[in-house]
């Protein structure tokens, strides 16, 4: 009898998981389905694919023509922001984790405390004014700088915990072997924190890729638009071309799906890093 109860429980558990999974994937599936339809097909049958012969491949070709430039802009901004962010965060976290200096506690908690400040809502106006005074309006550099600084605190916070967990004897041994600070970062911190760095990079990349408000405010010329701004423009003024829009959204999602597919193992490992003693 207890076995049957346990099986029933298992079944309920699995059913719930499938339900959640379905909720998460259903909009994506719909997006994909609609990307092959014209407006008439969409009105008649919005829920599932039509016959393959009726698929509107030109939606994808048209969307690619529009969004490819936005994707390139987004890749430039995201890669540059993530790189800059981690290049600054790793040495900062190393110093925070390894060295004692006057005011370290105050500095660290001030940094961490700033994570609790409201983000875009509170800072958008001042940030725009700052960008304007720097002469960076309508310039991708503004997004790169803001993106790299924005992810900084979380990265320092997570990396510091991780570096603190690396046995101090490894650093001491490296010091005796002849490694300076950058030598220790290059030879110990970077090789040992691959999964955490990978996770942080993916998280920052996602943040930058999905950022809408700031690019919308800062970028004026449409050849500079990033993908979220570009996708908004796909939404026609008088008639919505649902198929074109959804093809554009699908193309915009693809780089992230590919990125996540290849880095999933790192990502999961990184999320649990430091959870148990290794």
């Amino acid at each position: 009898m207890p076995l049957r109860v346990s099986k029933k429980k298992e079944a309920i558990k699995h059913a719930m998981l499938w339900f959640v999974l379905l909720l998460a994937f259903f909009p994506l599936l719909l997006m994909f389905v609609v990307s092959f339809k014209n407006n008439d097909q969409f009105m008649n049958n919005p829920w599932w694919f039509d016959a393959v012969s009726d698929w509107q491949w030109e939606n994808w070709a048209k969307a690619w023509g529009i969004v490819s430039n936005y994707i390139a802009n987004s890749v430039v901004v995201a890669v540059a922001a993530v790189t800059l962010c981690l290049v600054m965060a790793v040495p900062t976290a190393y110093v925070m984790a390894r060295y004692k200096f006057p005011g370290k506690g105050v500095l660290y908690y001030a940094l961490v405390g700033s994570m609790f400040l409201p983000g875009t809502a509170a800072t958008l106006v001042t940030m725009f004014m700052l960008i304007r005074s720097l002469g960076l309006v309508n310039n991708l550099l503004a997004l790169i700088l803001v993106g790299s600084v924005g992810g900084q605190i979380v990265s320092v916070f997570i990396l510091r915990q991780f570096i603190e967990d690396i046995p101090k004897e490894l650093f001491e041994s490296a010091r005796i072997d002849g490694a300076g600070h950058f030598g220790q970062i290059r030879n110990i911190v970077l090789p040992m924190s691959g999964s955490v760095l990978g996770t942080l990079a993916i998280m920052q990349f996602l943040g930058s890729w999905n950022s809408l408000m700031l690019p919308l405010l800062v970028l004026r010329d449409d050849e500079l638009w990033t993908i979220p701004v570009g996708l908004m423009a796909l939404d026609g003024e008088y008639v919505k071309q649902w198929g074109d829009m959804m093809a554009g959204f699908s193309i915009a999602a693809l780089p992230l799906v590919i990125l996540f597919f290849f880095t999933m193992r790192f990502f999961v490992k990184g999320l649990t890093a430091g959870a148990v003693k290794g």
Binding site: P167, E169, L170, E172, S173, A174, R175, I176, D177, G178, A179, G183, N187, I188, P191, M192
Partner: protein
């Protein structure tokens, strides 16, 4: 190769904890020096000050002709082996061993030669392409030692390197380290809390407590002639037995009176300790200085104590007998093995009076029986 000099070294940690106090010592070229003492005695801190991993609060450390107080660790020409091996987990054994040479920009050929020479000495040639996680504890230890010896440093520093190994492997590695020192003849400082390790490895040992050198000398000198009660109790397994009592004079002889027994001190000791007659004292007797039969070194008059047997631990040829006097319930004697001794029986033990130590009262009481001056530090 180098001598290492400590001149009045002090280390005070933030918060005022004094870890090392007035540490003055000379470690000779090619010497194997062991720092031994209980946890928190300052031995590791002293070693770390030599390595440059800990700042020196006061005093100077010299390696060879160079005062190294402000010299960074990499420029001190030392190599250190840590308790947890500190092998870089993402590097192979070869890369671990060659790492310091690579940072110092040795040519690839020279690196190769040194790593293979060291691997050959340590018998780890077949492990060079493995990563540390694929090695056993003993193999990791060998790699850690290998990483130190490829550098050909002026001195080796070992910080409790065998503590993480099981008992059997520890004994094996101990012999290996001794052989290695005989081969390389590099000045070595070795830190351990295990007095047996200290006794077997060191040319000389330094016994420390609370940041202060209690005694420095050859292992047998420290064992046979401890400066105070702490050293006497710390060095030796099982530890020395201590009886509280007093010195009394009777019939022109000097006696140690415990209350339940009294023993007559040898004339030489009596002459030495005569001025302490009438004072409370502690008598120290090593377990092996007690015998079951009153002949040979146990022969003599008034050198017996009557005890009650608690527990017997036979080891084959010898045995430890845990006994009690009415005043001292935890006494241990190491004697030849015999099968006619039972728990709860009364037993007469004969003492080797030439190996009796009389200490001043207190945990750190000085050994008044020591002949000559304290060991030169």
């Amino acid at each position: 190769m180098a001598e290492i000099f400590f001149d009045n070294i002090c280390k005070t940690f933030p918060g005022g904890v004094e870890a090392v106090k007035d540490f003055t010592l000379t470690i000779h070229d090619k010497e194997f020096m062991v720092f031994v003492g209980p946890s928190g005695c300052g031995k590791s801190t002293t070693l770390r000050m030599v390595a440059g991993l800990e700042e020196i609060t006061d005093g100077t450390i010299r390696i060879g002709d160079k005062i190294v107080n402000d010299v960074p660790p990499k420029d001190r020409d030392i190599a250190m082996v840590f308790q947890n091996y500190a092998l870089y987990p993402h590097m192979t054994v070869y890369q671990n061993m060659a790492f310091a040479l690579k940072l110092r920009k040795y040519p690839k050929q020279e690196r190769d030669k040194r790593v293979h020479d060291a691997a050959k000495i340590l018998g780890i040639e077949e492990l060079l392409e493995r990563r540390p996680k694929a090695l056993s504890g003993g193999q990791r230890q060998r790699v850690a030692v290998g990483r130190a010896i490829v550098r050909h440093p002026a001195a080796f520093l070992f910080d409790e390197p065998l503590s993480n190994l099981d008992a059997k492997l520890r004994v094996e590695m101990r012999a290996e380290l001794k052989r290695l020192h005989a081969t390389l003849e590099t000045t070595t400082i070795y830190v351990t809390h295990d007095q047996e390790e200290a006794m077997t490895l060191g040319n000389r040992i330094v016994v420390m407590k609370d940041g202060v050198i209690q005694q420095c000398g050859a292992p047998l000198e420290v064992y046979n002639s401890p400066t105070n009660r702490f050293v006497a109790g710390f060095v030796g397994t099982p530890p020395m037995n201590f009886f509280a009592g007093s010195l009394t004079g009777d019939d022109g002889d000097l006696w140690f009176d415990e209350g339940s027994f009294r023993i007559r001190l040898e004339k030489q000791q009596a002459d030495h300790l005569g001025s302490w007659t009438g004072r409370d004292m502690i008598c120290g007797v090593r377990p092996e200085a007690m015998g079951l039969v009153g002949d040979g070194r146990f022969a003599g008059r008034d050198n017996t104590i009557t005890v009650r047997v608690n527990v017997i631990e036979p080891f084959g040829e010898s045995m430890d007998i845990y006994v009690a006097t009415p005043k001292h319930p935890h006494i241990v004697a190491r004697t030849e093995a015999r099968s006619d001794i039972e728990p709860d029986q009364n037993l007469k033990l004969h003492l080797d009076m030439s190996r009796i130590h009389i200490f001043e009262p207190g945990d750190m009481g000085a050994n008044l029986s020591r002949k000559g001056e304290p060991a030169v530090v």
